[in-house]
């Protein structure tokens, strides 16, 4: 017997409505927690670990120390007037966050059932309908929750809600089998195509990613859909080299030219740096961010590769 939708859960760290840059129209974007990759530039570092985590918004803290008293594992302490989290001790029970009167401790990750998320989507349906929008799952890597995403998308299909799946490709065939048949649009990340640099920057090689891409292409050849778009984050020193971009261009122009609708190049910024600090992680990309010269270079690349349907997005410091 199939497990009911109210029993199938995904760990979600954010749901946002009225998003305008993750598919057509207004999107309700669901961020699932946990990712097999560990890209050094990740803009959602709170989505990498699949565990429940907390972080402290120091500007909201009123020094009442209620959180320290509430923690059963002594994971919290005060140092130089700031609350510090010992992440080896924190088990994500959230008692500290519940005790904090000023909501300075935020919970990252709550478990929602398919039905709960779907009901949330229904509230946004008027915006979705009026704009030709839909739902987009991202993360983290949403493919780490195949049953959850597949069931959610199936329900969306029935309700006439457009579905978009934003994936790194680092997922199992089983996940693809569950998700792709109910997906209207796939955002497929192509970051680095060389094995060694890929391991260096993302923590994993690329064989599985390419396998997933072939799986989707094969699926598309037998079925009507899903729409396929590629995404490449333009990271200074990591992905933005001519060699890398050319090899991606070659891959998609040789084999898949007629099969995708857009190749989005997302220029890099460092607005996520404070997230790393809150997670006690190191932001290794320092001052790196795309500047006007990068923008011009990418623009030229776009113009030189007119057939590749390149769109440039992201903030640029001009």
């Amino acid at each position: 017997m199939q497990v009911a939708n109210k029993e199938i859960k995904g760990r979600i760290f954010k749901i946002e409505s009225l998003n305008t840059h993750n598919g057509p129209g207004y999107r309700t974007v669901v961020y699932l927690k946990g990712c097999p990759l560990n890209c050094l530039w990740c803009h959602n570092p709170e989505g990498i670990s699949s565990k429940k985590e907390i972080w402290v918004i120091h500007s909201k803290c009123i020094d009442c120390t209620s959180c320290i008293l509430a923690c059963p594992n002594s994971a919290l302490s005060q140092k130089d007037g700031k609350i510090e989290v010992d992440r080896n001790k924190c088990e994500g029970c959230y008692r500290c966050a519940d005790a904090c009167p000023s909501k300075a401790i935020e919970k990252i990750g709550e478990d929602y059932s398919v039905d709960e998320v779907f009901n949330r989507l229904l509230k946004d349906k008027p915006f979705i309908d009026a704009s030709g929008g839909g739902v987009t799952v991202t993360g983290g890597e949403p493919g780490t929750y195949p049953e959850f995403v597949g069931r959610l998308f199936e329900k969306c299909r029935e309700a006439g809600i457009h579905t978009a799946f934003d994936t790194s490709g680092q997922i199992s065939d089983m996940a693809l089998e569950k998700i792709i048949p109910f997906t209207d649009l796939v955002f497929f990340d192509l970051k680095i195509l060389e094995e060694e640099p890929a391991i260096k920057w993302t923590g994993r090689g690329i064989s599985k990613i390419l396998k997933s891409l072939h799986w989707i292409i094969a699926y598309k050849s037998k079925n009507d859909g899903p729409e396929l778009q590629f995404r490449t984050p333009i990271i200074p020193g990591a992905t933005d080299g001519a060699e890398n971009l050319n090899s991606i261009a070659k891959l998609i122009s040789d084999k898949y030219k007629a099969l995708f609708t857009e190749w989005e190049m997302n220029l890099f910024n460092d607005i996520c740096e404070d997230k790393y600090e809150r997670l006690n992680k190191t932001w290794s990309l320092g001052q790196a961010k795309s500047d006007l010269a990068d923008y011009k270079r990418i623009e030229k690349f776009r113009d030189d590769n007119a057939g590749l349907k390149i769109k440039i997005s992201g903030f640029v410091q001009k």
Binding site: K123, P126, A130, G133
Partner: protein, 757 residues
């Protein structure tokens, strides 16, 4: 948004550019500023002083030290001196009486001594520099004022003054000769019946109509005089055209679009001389027949039509409405709806037009409305939901045959065109006051349950409402004698026919009393926090709470954080939102249970134009965790900084209320330019957002695109010309940002809380 940065779709020629430049010059020279008496006026809509609104000179003028600049959306043009003949007014020559005829004699003297001016480049003429209340005594008898102070003590107040919407089609079809004839026929009728009071009223109407005819004719003389002295042939053509139109309009009804626009503008000038505040109905319906006739006769081009309407907007961007439905409920959008919107796209600036959306509206027109709105970025046009406006009028007791002809007419309000004198936006009920009394009473009675506390709160709301009823009834007993609105009454149904002023009892068809309820979200959040922390969790006592808020939460930060972080209205959280619905429904039921002495119920409006900024310090801290220095929430919009789940969640909370039960409740959105990512079609996204909002039951959207950095700079550098042309939709009205009171500027910046998605 800065006007110079707007990418207009229609480009003004040199003549229009000169008029636009003069408009900005008047703003910079502070000649369009609109003041209210003091902070009490903002909060209670009655200052305790005169009963008028915004006199700049004369005995009722606001005290310079206390007056508050609401913005620069005044129809008058200040010339820096009082009305020169104020002392010679007939009523000041020992003949003051509380009668319409006495008032009319003053009005006639006043307009006869107001100059007729024709400026270079104009085709549409007419300006005024003073209001009648700067020259005529405007004060109610002591009994009315005593009732006013009693009401204020309990948290209510209000004036009664020029907040209605005449039907200008009455005047457009009759012209001033026709109106005069109508008045004279009715004089004869009432003379025969021996109804002296009505005859006297109409005698006043007669001399006023004649004085307006003289006023218009004097513009013809002025234009001819200027023509004779000019050597510029283009300018001479303009003057001669003005002279011809004014001569015609001083007598007969308008026959061309030019004449119709000029007729409407003269009516507004003549009418605004006796008060600020009316809306002027559905411009597209009023002008369509003239436009069609001119076009079919080849007299006019669309661009000329845009310029004529645009000139009127430059004079003053009055409250007007476009779109909506016709009597058979079909879409009312016509060619003139487009022209009226295009005219704004041509001249930009401050304007108060509303587009009345409904599901059957011409899709291209509505898309264009959203294009104008997002391109100009300053809340023009305001988007309103026609079907909700109409439903709320029907619910109030409107007859179907009148209800269809509703027009968006003021900040958040709307009105049956020519059929309603509804006191919109001039009465106030400050909901925080009864809550404060309920807390005190509950402490005194050692109340143990939330239900008992709620009962006390309901009782206190009722007391406040009763005090307001008493005050309003006292006002209505006197209003038509103290300050009749005799120019407006020419274009109201049944008034001339009944020999009664539109402010009088049993004159127009609908006489509701609408009341702006201030602080609903704060009270809802406060009561919810009290329910949770005092009565359910027993964490704090009411006495602790009262002590803390009386001391502005000083040394009670942990406690304040607890009250602040109980779920709040605006985040799509059921408990808090249900309380907001509960609190607003309660005050609605109380108001609707009261009747005024015109025989109509009171109605709530979930809005206040700017009282929330000054009310904060006046009322002190509140149990929602608010500090005394912070403003209250604006209308029904969640308290600033309390809605942290994004716009969609706020919309969901907001539309849990049934707006057909209220007289308006605008949804305010301020977005920073980067909200719309590169490549996103702003017009389409705004259209989709507003359609979804309306389908959820929302009634009005005020939208600003604001660059926070620029506004912050502008706030500290008001005199820098770089910031002079930033237009904003403040609440329901528009203003240049730099003209606004400092506290308004600060509040405006603080409310921008949708910086990112």
């Amino acid at each position: 948004m800065k006007e110079t940065n707007v990418n207009q779709k229609f480009v003004p020629d040199a003549r229009m550019k000169a008029l636009i430049a003069r408009r900005l010059k008047l703003v910079i020279e502070k000649k369009r500023d609109l003041y209210c008496d003091n902070a009490e006026f903002l909060v209670y809509h009655w200052s305790g002083e005169a009963a008028s609104f915004s006199p700049a000179t004369g005995e009722h003028a606001c005290d310079v030290d206390h007056r508050i600049n609401i913005g620069d959306h005044n129809a008058r043009v200040d010339v820096g001196i009082p009305f020169p003949k104020a002392k010679e007014m007939p009523s000041k020559q020992g003949k003051f009486e509380y009668t319409p005829l006495n008032w009319a004699q003053d009005y006639v003297y006043f307009i006869d001594n107001s100059p007729a001016e024709v400026h270079e480049n104009e085709l549409i003429v007419g300006e005024f520099h003073w209001q009648l209340d700067e020259a005529r005594f405007f004060q109610y008898p002591q009994e009315q004022r005593d009732a006013g102070f009693d009401a204020r003590e309990l948290g209510a107040g209000g004036i009664s003054f020029t907040h209605t919407c005449p039907d200008l089609s009455i005047g457009l079809s009759l012209g001033w000769n026709g109106l005069l004839e109508k008045v004279r026929n009715n004089i004869a009728k009432f003379e025969k019946a021996g109804e002296t009071e009505k005859v006297n009223y109409l005698n006043g109407s007669e001399i006023i109509a004649l004085s307006i005819q003289r006023f218009i004719k004097r513009h013809a003389y002025a234009a001819r005089d200027k023509a004779s002295k000019s050597s510029d042939s283009k300018q001479i053509d303009l003057y001669l055209s003005i002279a011809e139109v004014c001569e015609n309009l001083s007598e007969r009804a308008p026959q061309t679009l030019h004449e119709a626009v000029q007729w409407i503008w003269f009516f507004q000038v003549a009418e605004r001389m006796h008060g600020h505040g009316n809306g002027y109905g559905r411009t597209d319906q009023l002008l369509q027949p003239f436009y069609q006739k001119d076009i079919s006769e080849g007299k006019i081009t669309r661009q000329m039509a845009r310029e004529l309407v645009g000139e009127m907007y430059i004079k003053y961007g009055s409250y007007t409405a476009l779109g909506g439905r016709l009597k058979d409920l079909s879409d009312a959008t016509n060619e003139m709806s487009w022209v009226c919107l295009e005219a704004y796209d041509l001249v930009g600036g401050i304007n108060h037009m509303g587009v009345m959306w409904h599901d059957d509206m011409d899709k291209d027109f509505y898309r264009y409305a959203n294009d104008v709105l997002t391109r100009h970025g300053c809340g023009v046009p305001i988007l309103v939901n026609y079907d909700v406006l109409k439903a709320s009028e029907v619910r109030s007791g409107y007859r179907e045959e009148d209800a269809w002809n509703v027009a968006y007419s003021g900040c958040q309000w709307y009105c049956g065109v020519g059929t309603e004198y509804n006191d919109q936006d001039v009465n106030s009920l400050v909901l925080v006051k009864p809550m404060q009394r309920a807390i005190a009473a509950a402490i005194e009675n050692d109340t143990k349950t939330f239900d008992e506390f709620w009962e006390m709160y309901c009782h206190e709301v009722d007391r406040t409402a009763d005090a307001l009823v008493k005050f309003k009834n006292s006002t209505y007993d006197w209003q038509a004698k103290v300050w009749p609105e005799m120019v407006t009454s020419f274009c109201m149904y049944d008034c001339i026919e009944k020999g009664k002023d539109c402010t009088d009892k049993d004159a127009v068809r609908y006489n509701f009393t609408s009341v702006n309820v201030l602080g609903v979200p704060n009270v809802a959040d406060s009561v919810y926090a009290i329910k949770e922390l005092v009565f359910e969790q027993n964490r704090y006592s009411l006495a602790d709470l009262q002590n803390a808020i009386n001391n502005d939460w000083k040394d009670n930060e942990v406690m304040r954080q607890h009250f602040l972080n109980v779920p709040k209205f605006g985040n799509d959280l059921d408990g808090a939102d249900e309380m907001a619905v509960w609190v607003s429904e309660q005050v609605r039921e109380v108001l609707e249970s009261k009747r005024n002495n015109k025989g109509f119920p009171f109605r709530p409006s979930l809005f206040q134009y700017m009282g929330h900024t000054y009310a904060g310090p006046m009322l002190g801290a509140t149990p929602d965790g608010r500090l005394a220095k912070e403003p209250l929430a604006h209308g029904m919009n969640p308290m600033h900084g309390r809605n942290n789940n994004g716009i969609a969640a706020t919309v969901n909370s907001f539309t849990k209320l049934d707006f057909a039960k209220y007289q308006g409740g605008s949804f305010q959105i301020e977005l920073t330019p980067d909200f719309f990512k590169a490549g996103v079609e702003k017009d389409k996204m705004m259209e989709a957002f507003s359609v979804a909002f309306f389908k959820k039951g929302g009634v009005q959207i005020n939208f600003n695109l604001v660059d926070l950095k620029v506004l912050e700079e502008a706030m500290h550098d008001n005199d820098n010309p770089a910031y002079h042309d930033i237009n904003v939709k403040v609440t329901g009205y528009s203003s240049h940002f730099v003209s606004m009171d400092k506290r308004f500027q600060k509040e405006f910046i603080e409310r921008v809380n949708y910086k990112s998605l």
